[in-house]
């Protein structure tokens, strides 16, 4: 797997110029009752990019994620994954097509062990049949072994291997967040959506997370879209940022451009950015 | 003759015989939905057993031996009946099994006894199929076809009515069969069934159904159900202004029907195994003894049948002179003219009891004996 991903990583470098689009949303809108949570949202994620989605609370960021992953269906608009429309598909189908996510409110399988959390996520790539599993054919046996190996490798990467037998919900908050990312990666995604991965972490842990996200992008060649309120983190690692307010895109560009956009300062950053930086 | 590899052979060594005691089993619904029936039957059987023991025991081949009764609970579930009968036979080594009231439960228990070649007598399962299980299965009650016939005959010949409606408990095979037999007999005697409606055990509300029956103008409603529902049906029918006679079968037999139905059951009839006020010596003696044993209770038909079933068994053990299954079976099959509380019982070729039926009428707040219908 590592060689494959590295190749893919190499491909990313070139593909960047060709602007192959991993994920695209065009003119997507969603309202709840009278509330327009997302309006005419458009976004293109080039393959291998690492981009950010920010905006004030209730701007519609999580809703965008839900629209992309099939949890909600857009009222209008198109969502394409690798050039193929994924409108109307169930979230599980979308996941099998190569999109994974983490949740703003952590959703681990609390009673399952850390290892099983990751192994479960490998299920979507499993090829054995249920009958094969019942009869425990050689194929299913080998596949189980491969899944175990893959899960262990991921846990090692995320520094969670020594806690693999613990129940998911007994991990501290920060570890749970990392486990969520590991679990998402286990589905072999092409696109990874992270919803506030740094929430509830202290500055020290956030630093480590930054490095980890970069590494994931580089080593796995995954395209990443990130929601985060920690400006330090967003501005540091994202190549490109989209800003939402009241469901509409109010600005997009490089961190530099966005940070200087008066609309963004008014709606979101405010004076906060100043005091944060002290 | 030895039975090859009968699984019970190991269990049925005459351990009881050496102890001098004759063990008989009773399986019945001592708890659950039909506990009233099971407990009444049990009391009747116990009375018979105590009587025999008080007289020093049962004389078998010249030796007086005490009788021991083992009663087991089926929880009113057919599913349990097999287990329970197996237990009586394998663990308690009973020589014969008495039991169940409900035909559906007896149908589960009887095959077990049949297979083990232990005679079984059901006191009160009236469904025809019960004794068809095999040659070890007997009953001391009449069967539903006869009861339906007797009811029809009474309505046509004594009440002289021609238009009847049926209200059937569809959850009970007893009710189902009885209604069909009644209808058939009634029609063959020139009556007509003007309407039919049905219900399920445990239901409490019959207004809609009674209303629909009323529209057809019947002169009598035949309700072959259990007294639990009949009381309600009567009350609701009277409240709807239907003051025509109601009639049913032995499922009505319980002092609770009067208690619950109150004035509404005035002018109703039912066919039964016996009438406590029927002044035959057997009945009077039984009623007195039963009252003395169970602080003044008036025995219902199930208690009387339990008592008779036990006594038929005892008489057969005496004539057989042994408790061995096949011989005992033959002795029971030869029962003829046994004078029981519920009439003179003769066992026919199909192992059913041939006996007369009585009709009771509710008059001035009391059940009174009205007529006897002899077997066809």
């Amino acid at each position: 797997m590592s060689t494959a991903s590295r190749q893919q990583g190499g491909f990313v470098e070139q593909g960047f110029r060709e602007m192959s689009v991993a994920l695209a949303a065009r003119g997507v809108s969603k309202s709840f009752g009278g509330l327009k949570a997302v309006q005419d949202f458009t976004l293109e994620l080039p393959t291998g990019s690492l981009r950010g989605l920010i905006g004030p609370n209730g701007a519609g960021k999580t809703t965008v994620f839900n629209l992309l992953t099939g949890v909600y269906q857009p009222d209008v608009g198109v969502v394409e994954l690798g050039g193929q429309s994924i409108l109307g598909l169930r979230p599980s189908k979308i996941a099998s097509l190569g999109m994974a996510r983490t949740f703003q409110n952590i959703r681990l399988f609390g009673e399952l062990s850390v290892l099983d959390n990751v192994k479960l996520a490998c299920h979507v790539r499993a090829e054995q049949s249920m009958l094969g599993a019942i009869l425990r054919t050689a194929f299913s046996r080998n596949e189980e072994a491969a899944i175990e190996a893959k899960a262990r490798r991921l846990l090692q990467l995320f520094d969670l291997d020594d806690r693999r037998d613990e129940a998911g919900r007994n991990l501290p908050y920060g570890d749970q967040r990392r486990l969520e990312i590991a679990r998402a990666l286990a589905t072999n995604p092409k696109v990874l959506l992270l919803d506030e991965p740094a929430a509830g972490m202290n500055p020290q842990e956030k630093l480590a997370l930054r490095a980890l996200i970069r590494r994931v992008r580089d080593e796995f060649g995954v395209t990443i879209l990130l929601i985060e309120h920690d400006m330090g983190l967003v501005m540091d690692i994202c190549e490109h940022i989209t800003v939402l307010d009241h469901g509409a895109v109010i600005s997009r560009g490089t961190p530099q451009q966005v940070q200087e956009d008066p609309k963004v300062i008014e709606a979101y950053l405010g004076v906060a950015e100043e005091s944060e930086k002290q | 003759k030895k039975e090859p590899a009968a699984p019970t052979a190991g269990g049925n060594t005459p351990a009881a015989a050496t102890a001098g005691e004759i063990v008989i089993g009773h399986y019945g619904s001592l708890t659950g939905g039909q506990a009233t029936f099971g407990r009444s039957t049990d009391e009747g059987i116990l009375l018979a057993v105590n009587e025999v023991n008080a007289a020093g025991g049962l004389e078998v081949a010249g030796v007086k031996r005490k009788v021991k009764l083992v009663s087991e609970d089926t929880e009113s579930k057919a599913e349990k009946a097999g287990d329970v009968v197996r237990k009586l036979i394998s663990k308690d080594n009973v020589v014969a099994v008495l039991g169940e009231v409900a035909s559906s439960i007896t149908l589960e228990g009887a095959p077990v006894a049949q297979r083990a070649k232990i005679p079984t007598i059901t006191p009160s399962s009236t469904n025809t199929t019960v004794t068809e299980v095999g040659d070890y299965v007997f009953r001391v009650c009449f069967i539903d076809p006869f009861q339906g016939y007797a009811g029809a005959k009474f309505v046509r010949e004594q009440l002289k009515l021609t238009k009847a409606a049926l209200l059937v408990d569809k959850s009970s095979a007893y009710s189902d069969q009885l209604s069909k037999e009644f209808a058939q007999a009634f029609q063959s005697m020139g009556g007509t069934i003007v309407a039919t409606a049905d219900y399920t055990q445990g239901e409490k509300d019959f207004n809609t159904r009674l209303t629909s029956l009323r529209e057809k103008g019947p002169e009598l409603i035949y309700i072959p159900g259990y007294y639990t529902e009949v009381a309600n049906i009567a009350i609701q029918a009277r409240a709807l202004g239907m003051n025509i006679p109601l009639m049913g079968g032995d499922g009505w037999d319980s002092e609770d029907l009067a208690k619950n139905g109150g004035a509404a059951i005035e002018g109703t009839f039912y066919t039964n195994h016996y009438a406590p006020d029927n002044p035959t010596p057997a009945i009077t003696a039984f009623v007195t003894k039963y009252g003395a044993a169970y602080n003044g209770k008036v025995p219902d038909g199930l208690a009387a049948l339990g008592y008779d079933a036990a006594n038929v068994l005892f008489a057969s053990i005496k004539t057989a002179g042994t408790t061995e299954g096949p011989k005992l079976r033959d002795a029971i099959a030869q029962t003829k003219g046994f004078v029981g509380v519920t009439g003179t019982i003769t066992i026919d070729a199909n192992r059913n009891a041939v006996k007369p039926i009585v009709v009771l009428e509710r008059k001035n707040n009391a059940w009174v004996y009205r007529a006897t219908i002899e077997p066809k």
Binding site: T69, V71, R90, S92, A95, S96, F103, R107, L108, F109, E111, L112, K119, L120, A121, H123, V124, A126, Q128, M130, I134, L135, R136, T137, A138, I147, R183 | P4, P7, T8, G10, T31, E72, K77, A78, E79, G82, D83, R86, K87, I89, K91, S104, L107, E108, P111, V112, A116, T129, K170, S171, S172, A173, K180, A183, Q184, I193, A195, T196, A197
Partner: protein, 415 residues
């Protein structure tokens, strides 16, 4: 690993079941009396029910309280197949099994073969029952597309009740009838006074009353015979093929299949649904499909159990209702949600304890109820929790526990 080793390993649990079944049937059963043997079979059937329900309630965390419905469907279908075929082929309802099958009392055991044509019929009917139940399981699982949690539970309950009422109200079984009722006017052949016949009731619209005629089973089509098995009297006219051998074999297979699934990637997929459906979808688990699958598999084994039940005791519509379903749920929870071995042990307890308590008379059911409540209060995670008897962790925990128990009194003694 060489192929034959792999194959042997793959088949191991099934072989073990077979051996155990043979051992119990020919070995242990000799020392038991009829009653005990009956209990062993009841236990086995209940294990199948509990383990199959574990796949729905324990693995996927759905909450089915209509499991007895599948027992009913399987039992009635399997029973009907044997019943109709026996009548059609043999004209009677005797067993024609082998030494593996249940009651063949009228036959000299020495003449019995290893596998009779009756066994073939029996196994075929069991499979038919299982498949019918699985089909219904599919239908019952479908609402899980829209319903979650307790609402799904209530739908399963509703389904169970519908099955019960429908069975209760179908016509009754064919019964022995007098020859002249069935063939009016035709003289009876010598020695024949009664034949198996089915009732044909025609409703007279004027009176609402049914007119009854009879058809001899030998003249009827099998599809006329098979469905007529309902009715409130119960369905007891099924030849008793079920034996300890078959029950133990099928219970073993059920346990093996369930635990194989549990330990495979599919087991994890099931468990993830129990933990968090939304996250599970996001990880690519098609939750609806898996829930339906769980229902289908569980229903299949419950249907098999039903078939065994029908060829052992009698089917009765009043006893496949919700009370029975609750009994099975009790076993599952008592054993520990999701634990296969736990459910099996609980099935043993739930079957045997009330029997052992006989003798307590009218207090028996009270004590059983109290025991149930106390077990829930003092062992809320069930007997084994989510663990299995064959999990190392369970034994390690036990060893640690015993060691601690042992060491503490020693310390006390030393002081």
């Amino acid at each position: 690993m060489p192929t034959h080793v792999l194959v042997a390993r793959a088949a191991l649990p099934f072989l073990v079941s077979l051996l155990l079944a043979l051992l119990l049937h020919f070995g242990v059963a000799r020392f038991l009396d009829d009653y005990d043997r009956g209990l062993v079979m009841s236990v086995g059937i209940n294990i199948m029910l509990a383990v199959s329900l574990t796949m729905v309630n324990g693995f996927t965390g759905q909450f089915s309280i209509g499991h007895a419905g599948f027992l009913g469907v399987g039992g009635y279908v399997a029973g009907a197949v044997t019943y109709a075929t026996s009548l059609k082929l043999y004209g009677d309802l005797e067993t024609r099994g082998s030494m593996l099958s249940g009651t063949s009392l009228n036959v000299d055991p020495a003449t019995l073969s290893w596998f009779g044509q009756g066994d073939l019929l029996f196994v075929a009917s069991l499979l038919a029952g299982g498949c019918a139940a699985a089909l219904i399981g599919y239908v019952v699982g479908l609402p899980s597309l829209r319903l979650r949690g307790d609402y799904l539970a209530i739908v399963t309950l509703g389904f169970g009740e519908i099955v019960r009422v429908l069975i209760q109200r179908t016509d009754k079984t064919a019964a022995l009838q007098a020859w002249d009722r069935v063939h009016p006017g035709v003289p009876a052949p010598e020695g024949v006074s009664r034949v198996f016949a089915i009732e044909n009731s025609v409703l007279d619209p004027a009176t609402g009353l049914s007119q009854t005629t009879y058809t001899a089973v030998s003249d009827a089509n099998w599809f006329e015979i098979a469905p007529r098995v309902g009715g409130s009297l119960g369905f007891s006219a099924v030849p008793d093929y079920t034996s300890i051998f078959w029950v133990v074999l099928f219970a073993g297979v059920t346990i093996a299949v369930a635990s194989r699934i549990k330990r495979s990637t599919f087991g994890r997929a099931f468990l993830s649904i129990r933990e968090d459906e939304i996250a599970s979808e996001a990880m690519g688990v098609d939750t609806v499909r898996y829930k339906v699958r769980a229902f289908v598999i569980a229903a299949f084994f419950a249907g098999l159990a039903g078939g065994l039940f029908a060829h052992f005791k009698s089917m009765n519509p009043n006893e496949i209702g919700f009370a029975r379903s609750f009994d099975i749920v009790i076993m599952v929870v008592l054993g520990g949600l999701g634990s296969i071995s736990g459910a099996s042990i609980a099935a043993i307890i739930v079957t045997l304890l009330p029997e052992w308590l006989r003798g307590l008379d009218q207090y028996r059911m009270i004590i059983w109820a109290l025991a149930l409540i106390l077990m829930m209060i003092f062992r809320p995670q069930g007997l084994l929790g989510v663990r299995e008897i064959w999990d190392k962790a369970l034994w390690q925990g036990l060893v640690r526990f015993i060691k601690r128990e042992k060491s503490s009194p020693k310390a006390g003694g030393g002081a």
